[in-house]
Homo-oligomer: 243 residues x 6
């Protein structure tokens, strides 16, 4: 039963799941659902500029990013796994692909969150997207070996990149995260290395929230101070009701 409602979040670097999907994660765990985050790398080269400037060694950078990520995941109520693939550039190795397939089969996700298909400001993001989708399809096939049963066809939602229009990101789902907004803020405060992003994502939450209010039909009727996250659904929505 639990597996039926699990969410799998696959990211290139540790920070991504907080800034871009922290609300969705907190919302799911607040409802008692399992959320597992898989970080392909520690973002040690590409997203740790301030640590390098302080003279950290590679291992120190990794340890620091891991610590932050574990604390943020805990704040959001989620589990986290690290693949420790190299970043900048993130490359596909048989081990990484194998690990992702195994994680899909272990978690049996009902929902998958990952990066948008392209990001001209950070190639790792688009690469992680492709790899997450590739592993999902492979995990569906009985002919692909490994522990655990094959998975179904969980929907995939891309979270919002930093410069959405340049990434071909069309937000076709606006998720109301008002009720867990404080939890997301608490997780964001943990990521001290990227303080300027706090304000940015707080404002983005309001901006997407206002759009959610403006696009919500009479059934939802969201107020203007809604907080929301934007997502792009990859596969068609399958539903029993148009709403």
């Amino acid at each position: 039963m639990c597996g039926m409602t699990a969410t799998l979040v696959l990211t290139a670097h540790p920070g991504d799941f907080v800034w871009r999907a922290g609300g969705a994660i907190a919302l799911a765990t607040a409802r008692g659902q399992r959320v597992v985050i898989g970080c392909m790398s520690f973002g040690e080269r590409g997203e740790s500029a301030s640590l390098w400037r302080q003279g950290y060694t590679l291992q120190q950078v990794k340890d620091h990013r891991r610590g932050e990520a574990e604390e943020a995941a805990k704040t959001l109520g989620a589990q986290i796994r690290f693949f420790d693939a190299n970043d900048y550039p993130l490359v596909e190795t048989p081990e990484l692909l194998r690990g992702l397939i195994d994680l899909y089969r272990e978690v049996q996700p009902a929902t998958v969150l990952t990066h948008a298909p392209t990001d001209p400001y950070n190639n790792d993001h688009g690469f992680a997207h492709a790899l997450a989708l590739k592993a999902r399809v492979l995990a569906q096939a009985p002919g692909v070996e490994g522990p655990g049963g094959v998975i179904g066809a969980p929907p995939v939602f891309c979270f919002e990149p930093h410069q959405p229009e340049q990434c071909g990101f069309l937000p076709n789902v606006l998720l109301d995260v008002t009720e867990v907004w404080e939890t997301k803020c608490a997780a964001m405060r943990i990521l001290a290395a990227q303080k300027h992003l706090h304000t940015y994502y707080t404002e983005l939450g309001s901006r997407r929230g206002l759009q959610a209010a403006r696009n919500s039909g009479p059934n939802l009727g969201l107020p203007n101070d809604t907080r929301a996250e934007a997502y792009m659904r990859i596969y068609p929505q399958v539903t029993r009701e148009l709403s």
Copy 2:
């Protein structure tokens, strides 16, 4: 309360709501919701070739199409209104626009169904789409006069055109209509003038149903013999759950 769950279906011609949205309509009425269909024209010139070939007069064509449409709507459990604007080409008149705005405000729809944005095989379809969306926005404004209160922001779903790829139709919603499939078939049988479409839309229902099954996550778990209708959502989905 009832108005909160009403569906408004706006079409260029009478047949459209049966072939393309009959399942969605039957599904809503089966759940006790109100569905109102607004037909902009009787399709008297553009979609009644067999009647013209039998020597019907213009008025006879209109009467015939009206009769069929009323019976089909009744079968689906829906109400129907006719605007009797000319078709082929359908053109915007102040009366038609006024009538559509008033209908929006009367029905206070929670969901709107209409044509896709373009159809190079039938210009009336794209025109009806534009007019339906225009009237929806106007009906939201307190400054636009007329009876009834302003409406909220109901989501809009475009139903599937006959040659979807040529119409830029990307089906991003697959609606499971299995439970009301027989009702849709009954409504289709009423439209005697276009018999070859029975087979076509029966097969399409299976084809979209199989796609729905292939895209349904573990929560829905649809079987391969599902019957479905495809829709294209225009505005972003606003939701409290990613699924």
Copy 3:
């Protein structure tokens, strides 16, 4: 039999059919096929700047453009009709639409040539495209009155606009017009008002010709000095052979 192979060319202004489709027209007439050109306007306001600067009156501009167009059509072996709708802006009138429908039914074209869907440098072009397609669909319907029988579903080819990339023009058909190139040149020489275009379209013929050579499979095997015109097909090609 003759009607089965007729070509209908619908343009906003008189010059368009020479620069953009002169090769296709000459190729068809050289094979004994009928070609009828329908000019919606004389291009009197939007494409006759040099005549206005010489002090021509409106009627003189129209007469001059008509004379040129008739001579060019004759050179290409085609018939020409003028609708004398105003240009800049070209607007839809019931008379113009009626005239286009009647022309479709008279000519019973096997092939239709017209402008590309949009042209941000000349709105008349996109408007003429929309009108040509609208009239084509209306001419197919038995319920739309008028002389002549309904038409079939002739393919539509858009000829190349002056700045193709800005017009969303994707050339998916390259027509080898080498054997009638001299005829096209002769027709171009008649349009004295726009001399700078001679060189432009001569070079374009070579450029598209070289592309045709580079895209021609072993069956055609075109040489590098081929002369070609580019077209964009609107509806899917229906064929009995993939080549």
Copy 4:
């Protein structure tokens, strides 16, 4: 000389030029350039909901919006003209088109600002875009009558709509407006009817500013607290330097 650097801003409603282009206007006037704003309507029906709810008459709404707009324009250092066409829906009349052509020829703009091509939340915006571009092309033609000389080919920049991704808005120009930000804020404060937009556009200025900083090469080297406005260029940039 002055005409060589004039900017023409064409909008559907009075508020648009403040929220969306106030920085560009203030920047131009701060450099001594002429800016003329043409408001097609007073936004009396579609963008004055709070006034209608207070019981204003139509004329009172118009007067109020005119007063606000004149004050905001003055604050930005720009001139303003009103066409008083009806809004919601804004429709093309010969007078409006004529007036726009005449304004182009009077101002002889070196730069044109207007709405993006489509806006599914407000049809007037897309309509105003189309009309602004249509009038620009007509004003270029010697054959189109009216006072003033023909214009050249001024570049056109679309300002940012409220929900950019839903409007197909791809921001390909980020304009640094930091030096005139306070002026824009002062103009925004005048538009009391739409107070919730103050915060929204202040945050948007920071968000676009941060993106400007991230996309600025070494020559500009903008700081992270830059304030910017996003634009979408319609025609290709013509330049003597790649930068």
Copy 5:
């Protein structure tokens, strides 16, 4: 002479050529043309779920798929080659690329058929597309070593994926395969492992056939019970006649 009309079909898995291109293959061989099918893998992991569930070993799966494919190819009158690269995921190896280049040069195809560029339900398909196009370009270059002469520029047609709209598949060619439909059905019956696809592709043949009829000009005049396959042409069509 024979080589001038040869067709090369390159697929990721053995079933693809039957379901998606069986009509085109049968049509070519019925006209005495040579058709060579190159299967990159046996589809042993990704498209043999029912065999795995029956407990087959890897080699047994491969042997079974090979046997079926050889029989289906024979039924269609075509030759078949197997590259035995691994599937799920299919990856590029120097041997596979080398083999494809050599096959191009041996066959000297006048026409190439392969997968569409992307398929979010099966990454092997998009990968096979990219590889087929890459090998085609390499086979054109005198500087790339290997047996056989360089090839020309054969047109490439993508066959229809299972969920076309999700794969960006725009069917711009509809091939009338009515005369060989029974042959295609016979080949489909051989692929026992995927029985549910029989019905699916039979209905698709009718659906595309009806579209072909609706898009066929007066020269072809196809009846409504036409059977057709849809293709997407990658490179521009080069022709001596617009039809």
Copy 6:
């Protein structure tokens, strides 16, 4: 200071920088700016067909192409570096990626020129584009090791491919290169192996020049005999003036 205005040109093969960007290079060096060209390969297999047909060995082909490229670069006033990666297919190696990152950091470019994202006629071009952008992002990160300081965010311009429409090339920048046209012609004359391209690119220079004239506002006011090169900007333009 000098580094602030340096241009880095990254190409797959030696000829590319002459045909497609020779004007931009000559324009920059004529203004005293540094231009460095990085050729990933010698184009020995894919773009040296005439040399292979003359019986050159691989080394002779490389030497010949290197000689030509050095002379052309000298004519344009630019420096040139060769990476001697294999072409046809060009593949990513750690050495090549490393070399490109180091070159970015050495040159500290204010402007980057490279290929367009895709080219279905030559896969090396799209590959070089991806690699050039990947190296640029990596060179920005302090965590990526290597000599030299990190770079800023230089704008990237794609030069025009041979068949632009088939490559998704939308020319959004037209660069006036009239003043250095003779220099570009001199460089083109050096590339004797591809003589037919001289005429082609001379005509293209005129064609793009005429488009530049037609798109130039009153400030530039270019004449009709302008010579121009077309570019596609990848990242948004950041500017302090709309023009």
